[in-house]
Symmetry: C2
Subunit: 206 residues, 2 copies
DNA sequence: TTAGGTATCCCCCAAAGGGTGTATTTTTAA
DNA sequence: TTAAAAATACACCCTTTGGGGGATACCTAA
């Protein structure tokens, strides 16, 4: 049986180096390349498709979430494992929603990485224990929360736009934006803009 | 000449592994150990003091900034290099103010890490180019900006307090708090609460 | 002694936020 | 597939907060 071909995308050279070392002695896993940004990754896989991509979620320019989506659309045969420093629900959720098969935290050890790669290459999913716990904890309280529109408006608020500005940007009436803002605050149980922004940043929806 | 003894503190195993690999073939650098949190690090150096510690800035429990401070107080002979994902002024500043001799971003390559270790071991300082640029850009505009009172009020705003609430908490009149809020916004050239909170968080003054 | 930080007040209007109601579309579940 | 539920869009009410401007005065550290 041919080895599982793995590709790494991470803007931190140290992490690439670390993973490379950890995979070095695995006979059934072969690291076929690495990239430090989304575009280099796309260029590479145009010529050669790995079985599994280990992909950092937070990268300059194009994020891992976007890259994951594109890769999965173009090459459904490539499985993606998200890599992240943050054990944050929104990230995990975003990756899984965009076609990722797994999620690892960067403090994962050798054993966990290898297990994840094997599982994912077989078409299974693998989410690291801690991440899975987060997913479970937040599943009920966080997922049903904000609608697409509310999310969108929250992002624009966090960008510093006022309700009138948002209204004109989205071609909505001020009342509508007003209502959305109020209802998202009610849902999140937040009573002013300051805490709203903190929420948005802490849940990574800037 | 005996090799430079290096210790790594980072909560991400991949990063430790990556640095270890990069330092492997350096004859004049010896990696004597690693830890994944501040306390393990302190335990280790009680018995054996490295020449240089590579220290992640954001760690659970005790941050790198605090650890750096303690290490430098107890063992002035140990030089510290801060390691971080974020090229953020406040972090770099905080590390340097607490006795760090250097600052590296996690996308540093082998050459840069080795240079940094050598420089720092000699008692010099080493700040990665990008970080140095950030430091330079922010130096003039950030330091003289806010007064103690304005800082205090900004923190309270970020905690979600309204002006009236801040006034009663600080035993000030609403007008005073109002004035402070306005003048700090004028100084920072920020026009609404949303951006103000982002500023506060991004500059680590939550 | 002079500038800057602090504290106080005024006016004014725009924006935020709390409430309630309604109509249309889209989603989801029975 | 159809009925219920949720999302979206809009409106009007009203009060509080935010934010732009200008003015005055005290205190303290260069």
């Amino acid at each position: 049986m041919s080895p599982i071909e793995v590709f790494i995308v991470d803007d931190h050279y140290m992490v690439i180096e670390g993973i490379r070392t950890m995979l070095q002695n695995e006979k059934d896993i072969e690291l076929i390349g690495h990239a430090s940004n989304a575009n280099s990754c796309l260029m590479f896989i145009k010529n050669r498709q790995p079985d599994v991509i280990l992909m950092d979620i937070s990268m300059p320019e194009k994020t891992g979430v976007e890259l994951c989506k594109e890769v999965r659309q173009m090459y459904p045969g490539i499985f993606v494992i998200g890599l992240s420093t943050f054990n944050q629900f929104s990230f995990i959720e975003a990756m899984m929603e965009n076609g990722a098969s797994g999620y690892l935290l960067k403090n994962a050890d050798k054993k966990e990485i290898i297990t994840a790669i094997h599982q994912v290459a077989k078409g299974h999913t693998y989410v690291s224990e801690i991440a899975a716990a987060t997913l479970k904890n937040n599943a009920h309280q966080l997922s049903p929360l904000l609608t697409r529109r509310e999310h969108e408006i929250l992002r624009l608020i966090a960008e510093g736009l006022t309700n009138p500005a948002i209204a004109s940007k989205l071609f909505l009436s001020l009342s509508t934006v007003d209502t959305h803002r109020k209802s998202l605050m009610r849902k999140l149980n937040i009573k002013n803009t300051a805490l709203l922004i903190r929420y948005a940043i802490e849940h990574n929806m800037i």
